[in-house]
């Protein structure tokens, strides 16, 4: 057995810091602190230096801070669990891994976004602080031990995302996306807040531990406020992860927002919202029998979500729109794990987050090389002939799409296998079967992209267009690393699965 090594806290300096800070333990929020500083610094730079030079400085600065945040997340993940701010937030391996996902994905996104926006001919420096604020928000959501903190994190994230969706203020579609997203996001936040209020009313606390102590393995039905509150919170989070029927914003916003923003929105925030909800459910310590209502409900939502996502994707022509529906379908698979609601399923959930983030960012980074004319050429016809004139890019396209549709030996297959396998082991046979049928449907639209890229003859002008693509170093590194990771995890998934299982024990 290959074990994941979790070094005990040996660093005497770290212990000393903990001692000095006492109950506050601000030290456990080190990644948030670093990235917040980064966000503030980049905002200052944006105010001072305009246009291209500022963009470059900002780019380098935010890469530096996000990297520092990533390193500190890794370090915190290796430490034993601990509380900060009088138990309002806590750090453990679970939050550590998710923090790594957030800061890592933001780092990858920024590496690509810089060249993407340069190609788009826009210098938008607000991009950098906003992404970093979003990361801070997500980190608080996962680390939170209190519903108020969860809400706070979610709002930091949401407000950043609203602005990010409309960040290209010259593009009307981007503006439309921002307004739609904001209107509906505000609407859904109300549900979340109302849900929190009901739970507070029902249990007398917003702290997860206090709530757990109150419920204490008794039925959640002791008063109606608790189940109703949980359902309303589910709606609030469901909106963020685009769960059907709260998904309607997704295609419009994903299509309207600039490509790399879409890439960001479709990955880390979903992991944040779902993991926060899963953490709330797990730490509420629900008695298995009393949560049958929830299990059934989430199970139905999972099936509806993946089915609607996949069916809607079939007839789309715009790749960004396809990816929007694809992300809805993936949330459906993730909801299967939430539905099973035990620790093993959470391990599968974490594994799926890792894989989904990696392959999605890889695919979007690849698209960012191809994007022209404010992403309007990213249609099925628009990518004809790519495989023939740029075989290397075609190969990467193939890897990412195979992984998204779950074909071995890619990471996407391992992730789906793990989720469906967990479902079968816990006797959720129907969910597993429907999930597998759905991923069969999904193969159609992913492979259709491959069909257009490889088989269809290119239109006359497009060969020129492909040969003009310059491989930007940062972007290429991101694509290469993600593609390699997709294959590596696909062939040897053991390590990350172990890590996920370990993380769950710490919750």
């Amino acid at each position: 057995m290959q074990q994941v090594m979790i070094p005990a806290i040996s660093d005497s300096s770290a212990q000393q810091i903990i001692k000095i800070l006492g109950d506050t333990n601000i030290f456990y929020t080190l990644p948030q602190i670093i990235i917040s500083i980064g966000a503030l610094v980049t905002m200052m730079i944006a105010a001072i230096s305009r246009e291209e030079r500022g963009q470059v400085i900002n780019y380098i600065t935010s890469v530096f801070f996000l990297f520092a945040g990533l390193v500190s997340s890794v370090w915190l993940a290796s430490l034993p669990k601990g509380d900060a701010f009088s138990g309002m937030v806590s750090s453990d391996l679970f939050s550590g891994i998710l923090n790594i996902i957030y800061s890592g994905s933001a780092l990858l996104i920024i590496l690509v976004a810089h060249s993407y926006f340069r190609n788009r001919g826009r210098y938008i420096q607000e991009l950098f602080p906003l992404i970093q604020f979003a990361v801070v928000g997500m980190m608080f959501m996962t680390m939170a031990n209190n519903l108020i903190i969860v809400f706070l994190g979610l709002e930091i994230l949401s407000v950043s995302l609203y602005v990010l969706a409309g960040i290209d203020n010259m593009d009307t579609r981007s503006n439309e996306a921002a307004v739609k997203y904001f209107l509906m996001g505000a609407f859904s936040s109300a549900f979340l807040l109302y849900g929190i209020a009901l739970v507070y009313g029902g249990t007398g606390s917003t702290g997860l531990r206090e709530i757990a102590a109150y419920i204490n393995n008794k039925s959640i039905w002791q008063n109606i406020y608790i189940p109703a509150g949980i359902i309303l919170m589910l709606i609030g989070f469901g909106f963020k992860v685009s769960m059907v029927p709260f998904h309607m914003w997704t295609p419009d916003v994903y299509q309207g927002a600039p490509l790399m923003i879409t890439a960001f929105m479709s990955t880390a925030p979903k992991a944040a919202a779902l993991s926060a909800f899963a953490k709330i459910l797990i730490s509420m310590n629900l008695e298995p029998g009393s949560s049958i209502m929830l299990t059934n409900l989430i199970g139905v939502l999972a099936v509806v979500t993946m089915t609607v996502g996949n069916l809607m994707a079939l007839n789309q022509n715009d790749i960004k729109r396809i990816m929007a529906f694809s992300s809805i379908a993936h949330v459906g698979y993730l909801l299967i794990a939430v539905c099973i609601m035990n620790r093993e399923a959470l391990a599968a959930l974490i594994f799926y987050f890792c894989v989904y983030t990696i392959m999605n960012i890889g695919f979007f980074s690849l698209l960012s090389l191809l994007a022209r004319d404010e992403d309007r050429n990213l249609t099925l016809e628009g990518i004809q002939g790519l495989g023939k004139s740029r075989p290397l890019l075609g190969l990467f396209l193939l890897i990412f799409l195979f992984s998204l549709s779950g074909i071995p030996p890619t990471a996407g297959f391992a992730a789906k296998f793990f989720i469906f396998n967990t479902a079968i082991e816990n006797k959720f046979y129907l969910l597993a079967i429907l999930g597998i049928l759905n991923s069969a449907i999904s193969a159609y639209y992913y492979l259709r992209i491959i069909l257009y890229a490889f088989i269809r003859e290119p239109e006359s002008g497009s060969i020129d267009q492909w040969s003009q693509i310059k491989l930007n170093a940062a972007c290429f590194v991101v694509i290469f690393v993600t593609a390699a990771a997709v294959l590596e995890i696909g062939i040897v998934p053991g390590y990350i699965i172990d890590l996920g299982k370990k993380a769950i024990q710490f919750l």
Partner: protein
């Protein structure tokens, strides 16, 4: 320094060579490509030698396990990518990397000027990688991965001259026939998982040694199914038909894959799983008799072939039969010993024939050769050494190993012994027939257009010389004890004993051992004499294909086995699949698939209308969703109250 920690490098060094030559090889010169490929293989050899010396110095020869990482964890099955070093795998690794490296160097000369030089070396390295996984893997699944990998490389290399029409066909044939065997192998693996719950060799043998509750019937089926896999890969009856056709590949490939290494993996597999096989005496008997029948049957075909490589191909099938005969009767050590010596002399013979073919510009028909002794002195001399070795001339390597097999078989069954003895006589006959037809007599090759026949370059002749030395002296590592006048002992058997032990009881004494040994010498002389009279004294040269008559025609056409397969299995399969395609696939399956596909798309088209783009519609949907969910909670609540 503990070299076995670097065992992974043995496996991955050729893989790196494959990556370099496969990805960027086209940009390099032939010399660079050849050196990268050969050095990658040589590095593996050097490490194996170092590990070998360290390992053989150990007093306790326990298997060394090198687990790299966990590969598959599903249900109760836990498979890692891990390697096992013990005496058996070390012997195999030394043969594979040693002979393999020589053939790599030889290929630099032989493949000079061929199109796709880099492709060739990339495949060759990939083959080495797969083969080393096969022999070093510490579990059956990794062995199977290597097993499939070598099959793939064999397919790619047989079809190397893909512009001809026969090479791709031969490649396909090899692949398909092997798939049939692999199917059996897979069933064997599944049965092992089902009954033992582990695929790791060490764990498996521990389970078996403790006394297992698995029934004898099950073990019979497991071992038999695995042997079906072996008949495919190691070209035994009834799945041997692909190997002669596989000669369409470049000659060094025939030497490496289709003589020295890959085709012997079935023998290795049985030796590796000997602890299971000894529990199934019925399977062992089947293995032994299939081996004996193949040895005899292939040897008869070999006597009438005129293509130099075809003779050697049937000879390989026949010699593999000898090895299976040995492992079948429980003389695992003798089987592996013959595997090793065979690797030396058969690689030598193939490379020698390659040298001839190279000199004669791809002429392979022996009827157009003759008298090459003077033109190709080095090739002739080394080839003669190989022939003497395979024919069983006393004190040449083949003598020791073949005699050992015949002696052990004699202890098991006299019928099998006589089959083997007859096959040995035919071996001696067809090999000398080959030598006389190519090297002696008049030169029947017409030199045209200024192309003179001359000896191959040193890069080809040096490997020949090294292999010739090994073929002559290689047998001394396993001296039979009647000849052991200096009491040095049978080193080979002693070394292997830490991982494989013979299960065959020796019932006869020294007298009989002398008897079988003398008999095998006499047999070899008889075979030689017949060949000498017909092909050297009478200077007989077979005529054109159309003039071959009678029993010779039947043998020349390989007993029409290919035609029989064609008429029955192949055309039957085609007819069945055509019927299924017409009536079941087109009507039922396509109907369902297209119907489902169409209706799913139609549903998608339908719900697409909900995406209006208007925020008010979206919010309405949300409200409806929220309402349904809250009503659901209330319904649940009331049901709780009623309960």
């Amino acid at each position: 320094m503990n070299f076995s920690e670097y065992a992974w490098l043995i496996v991955f060094s050729p893989f790196i060579g494959f990556l370099i030559n496969g990805l960027v090889g086209r940009k390099f010169s032939e010399k660079t490509i050849g050196l990268i490929g050969s050095l990658a293989s040589t590095l593996s050899f050097v490490i194996s030698v170092l590990i070998f010396f360290q390992y053989s110095a150990l007093s306790q020869k326990a298997p060394i396990q090198i687990d790299l990482f966990k590969w598959i964890v599903a249900g109760g099955i836990n498979v890692s990518i891990g390697y096992q070093i013990d005496s058996l795998s070390l012997v195999m690794v030394l043969v594979v990397t040693g002979v393999g490296s020589l053939i790599h160097f030889y290929s630099i000369g032989y493949m000079h000027g061929e199109k796709g030089f880099a492709r060739y070396f990339a495949y060759l390295n990939l083959f080495m990688f797969s083969m080393l996984n096969l022999v070093l893997g510490n579990n059956i699944l990794l062995m199977f991965l290597g097993w499939e990998g070598v099959g793939l490389c064999s397919y790619l290399l047989i079809g190397y001259y893909y512009e001809t029409d026969y090479a791709p066909t031969a490649g396909k044939k090899a692949f398909i026939v092997n798939r049939i065997g692999d199917f059996g192998f897979l069933i064997g693996i599944f049965l092992i998982i089902q009954n033992f719950g582990t695929l790791n060799f060490t764990e498996l043998s521990t389970v078996v040694a403790k006394g297992t509750s698995v029934g004898n019937d099950t073990i019979f089926w497991i071992t038999l199914m695995l042997f079906v896999g072996a008949t495919g890969k190691s070209a035994q009856i009834p799945l041997y038909v692909w190997l002669p056709d596989a000669m369409a590949g470049p000659t060094p490939v025939s030497a490496l894959i289709h003589a020295a290494t890959m085709v012997t993996s079935g023998v290795y597999m049985i030796a590796r799983l000997s602890f299971l096989y000894v529990l199934a005496p019925e399977t062992m008997a089947i293995v032994a008799f299939v081996g004996g029948a193949t040895a005899l049957f292939a040897a008869t075909i070999g006597t009438q072939q005129n293509d130099i490589k075809k003779v050697l191909a049937y000879s390989t099938v026949s010699q593999l039969g000898f090895m299976f005969m040995a492992v079948g009767v429980g003389a695992f050590t003798a089987g592996i010993f013959h595997l090793v010596t065979h690797a030396f002399f058969k690689a030598l013979l193939f490379l020698g024939s390659g040298s001839i073919i190279y000199a004669l510009h791809h002429e392979q028909d022996m009827r157009n050769m003759g008298g090459l002794r003077k033109k190709l002195p080095v090739t002739f001399f080394t080839f003669l050494m190989g022939t003497l070795a395979i024919a069983g001339t006393p004190f040449f390597s083949g003598f020791f190993s073949k005699d050992e097999i015949l002696w052990k078989v004699f202890n098991y069954s006299s019928l099998l012994f006589w089959m083997g003895a007859l096959a040995a006589m035919l071996t001696s006959f067809y090999m000398f027939r080959l030598v006389f037809m190519t090297f002696f007599g008049e030169m029947r090759y017409h030199e045209h257009g200024g192309h003179h026949v001359h000896e191959s370059p040193a890069v080809m002749t040096v490997p020949l010389i090294i292999l010739a030395v090994l073929s002559v002296f290689g047998g001394f590592m396993g001296i039979p004890h009647v000849l052991d006048v200096f009491h040095v002992g049978n080193y080979f058997e002693h070394f292997l004993s830490s991982s494989v032990k013979d299960s065959l009881p020796i019932v006869f004494g020294t007298k009989e051992e002398w008897g079988t040994m003398s008999l095998s010498v006499i047999i070899a002389i008889i075979g030689f004499t017949i060949a000498y009279v017909i092909y050297l004294k009478k200077k007989y040269v077979p005529g054109d294909d159309s003039t071959i008559k009678g029993y010779k025609k039947v043998i020349y056409n390989k007993y029409y086995v290919d035609e029989m397969y064609e008429r029955t299995v192949i055309s039957g399969t085609i007819r069945i699949s055509k019927t299924v395609y017409e009536y079941f696939d087109k009507l039922v399956i396509d109907g369902i698939v297209n119907g489902v596909g169409k209706s799913i798309r139609r549903i998608g088209e339908g719900i697409r209308g909900t995406q209006t783009g208007l925020v008010r519609d979206y919010m309405l949907t949300m409200i409806i969703g929220v309402s349904i969910m809250l009503v659901y909670v209330l319904v649940n609540k009331f049901m709780m109250i009623r309960l």
